[in-house]
């Protein structure tokens, strides 16, 4: 990694932010409409057993991992926007606030997935 005066890790932060934005805008609404409305309300045929089928798919460790990564991107997007909104409001908090904001975005999905794995292993 080349270094120069003032170079930041902002490309990484912004890249994840952009990815989270794409997911929030294009992917999530479609998934929500399909899996929260169309499928359960039987638009694609019998809704019988939908919950059990979905539950079975989502508790697969790999599907769950993908889901947590996608949700992590959305959370990262929100955190990044929130942090920059502070700047827009002329609030310049100490570095620790920045660490906490992005920390929540990193840790919440990680802890969530860990809890899922523990739960899956014990049930």
């Amino acid at each position: 990694m080349r270094r120069w005066a003032g170079r930041t890790n902002e490309p990484l932060f912004w890249g994840l932010f952009g990815g989270g934005g794409m997911v929030s805008v294009f992917l999530m609404p479609v998934l929500i409409v399909i899996f929260a409305f169309l499928v359960p309300f039987g638009v694609f045929g019998g809704a019988e057993g939908t919950y059990e089928t979905m539950h079975g798919v989502l508790t697969n460790w790999f599907v769950a991992l993908v889901l947590f990564v996608v949700l992590a991107l959305v959370l990262w997007h929100a955190a990044h926007r929130f942090f920059h909104s502070l700047h827009d409001l002329k609030i310049h908090p100490p570095e620790i606030v920045r660490v906490v904001i992005y920390g929540v975005a990193l840790l919440a999905p990680a802890i969530g997935y860990s809890l899922f794995l523990v739960e899956a292993a014990t049930s």
Binding site: M1, R2, W4, A5, G6, R7, T8, E10, P11, L12, W14, G15, G18, H84, S85, H87, D88, K90
Partner: protein, 260 residues
């Protein structure tokens, strides 16, 4: 825009200020006769010719191409020669110097910070280091279309007056300078991406931008600097990722058609 009144006399309030003499800027009212085709610049020239010759402002072309007559008109950054008094009828119209800029006198602002930022991004063709293959350095219409819109900038600085981030972060490179960098980065004849990257990808480079979009709303030439900055962010992110994966990748940003 259409207004039934064909003309009349309008109160025009102009901010007067001589930083070395006056304590604070003040608004001075002038009564300006106007007709359907009286521009704001015409009104200022009327004031200077007929009412108060000491009033100071910049202008040149009178046709929205030289970029020197940017003012705040009722609080919005506009070109004085492109706006007409009829739009502001029955008045009053308030004319102030461009926001986010230091005032030198009356409506004249300090251009130096902007000029420094613009020059910093090296907004000129960097020739192919391996030599120019064809005489004339030709380009197809498609290649020109890739940057054409960004080349329409007239350096009027309205986008700097409109941008809240320019007001918050003084050293922010700003909309037009970043757009100029993108304009050359996207030019098939240019090989200067690597030189421009360190200026763009730094704290005061393009990252203070939070995509407010006020620059593109204010721009009188349809340049869309907000889009240019987004493209520059994406390109900087791609360069960062490339270097992360391949630390010895060498100079990123070569003309590969992918990210430029």
């Amino acid at each position: 825009m259409a207004h039934s009144e064909a003309g009349g006399v309008m109160t025009v309030e102009v901010q007067r200020y001589r930083p070395d003499v006056d304590d604070t800027p003040r608004l001075v009212s002038y009564e300006v006769p106007w007709t359907q085709d009286t521009s704001v610049l015409d009104a200022l020239n009327y004031i200077k010719d007929e009412l108060d010759s000491s009033i100071t402002f910049r202008w040149s072309c009178r046709m929205a191409i030289c970029g020197s007559c940017g003012f705040m008109l009722n609080g919005e950054p506009k070109l004085g020669c492109e706006q007409f008094l009829r739009t502001y009828a029955p008045g009053p119209l308030r004319i102030e110097p461009l926001a986010n800029h230091a005032v030198e006198r009356d409506l004249v602002v300090d251009l130096e910070p902007f000029m420094t930022k613009l020059a910093a991004v090296e907004p000129y063709l960097h020739p192919d280091p391996t030599g120019t293959p064809e005489p004339g350095n030709l380009q197809t219409p498609e290649q020109m279309t890739r940057y054409g819109q960004f080349a329409a900038c007239i350096n009027c600085m309205l986008c700097y007056a409109a941008c809240p981030q320019v007001g918050l972060a003084t050293d922010f490179l700003g909309p037009a300078a970043i757009t100029a960098a993108v304009r050359y980065n996207k030019d098939s004849r240019d090989f200067g991406n690597a030189q421009r990257l360190p200026l763009l990808d730094q704290e005061d480079g393009l990252w203070p931008c939070t995509f407010v979009g006020a620059c593109s709303t204010a721009c009188p030439k349809g340049v869309d600097p907000a889009a240019a900055i987004q493209q520059a962010k994406f390109a900087a992110t791609m360069d960062w990722a490339t270097e992360f994966v391949m630390p010895h990748h060498g100079a990123p940003g070569a003309k590969d058609g992918g990210h430029a």
